[in-house]
Symmetry: C2
Subunit: 112 residues, 2 copies
Amino acid sequence: MSSPSAQAHRPDPAPIFAALGDGTRLSLLAKLSDGQARSIAALSADTEITRQAVTKHLRVLEDAGLVSSARVGRESRFSFRPEPIAEARSYLDLVSEQWDDALSRLRAFVER
Amino acid sequence: MSSPSAQAHRPDPAPIFAALGDGTRLSLLAKLSDGQARSIAALSADTEITRQAVTKHLRVLEDAGLVSSARVGRESRFSFRPEPIAEARSYLDLVSEQWDDALSRLRAFVER
DNA sequence: GCCATAGGCAACCTCCTGGTTGCTGATACC
DNA sequence: GGTATCAGCAACCAGGAGGTTGCCTATGGC
């Protein structure tokens, strides 16, 4: 296409982390990470908060790409999407790597 | 022994993700992950925002354990702390793992 | 056709967040 | 000792996040 970059290789990871930065959303993700798609009602069943609040959290997760939704009959089925998790992981790897390299250089400098 | 924390080794990862969920904080971390401790003034030098704003972000990072600060003379030197990164990574691994297991089970079920 | 259930929409509320400005105290420098 | 630099503190502000309630639409089951 006419898109300038050969590939949008590293989309800003901050929104993914932000989406993960809430306990309620983490537990929603934990439920969904078993591969089973679930309706909003099902996901709200054993929580303290209202269905509306759960819906909002699901929208946040969806905006971050962590879940996808599909309407099935009168239900909205949400399912887990692993890609952003991998992306977040690879960002953390990047940081750790930079840190490890810095340590190695420091050690090399001190020890020689 | 009968202490409720038979495994205190998994403190809620949400605050860590929350701290990572901001572009400004990510770039502060990126700078610090080279192992060099830096003063607030140094870290504010090439940003758009004020020193005060940077200070607030640093406090957030510190609360999440991602950086530590030490007063040296009139400076507050901040340095990177890798532990929470590892923690966040291991949480992501947990989720991915659960997902992979679910996929395997599904595949086994379909293919037999 | 009726009723129960699933869910979307909108308004509203409270508290937190990210940011600013202004001021003050402490340390370094010459 | 005077001045410039580093940083902490407090007040303030706008907007967003998380949550609620009320109401309305659509679908499914009988």
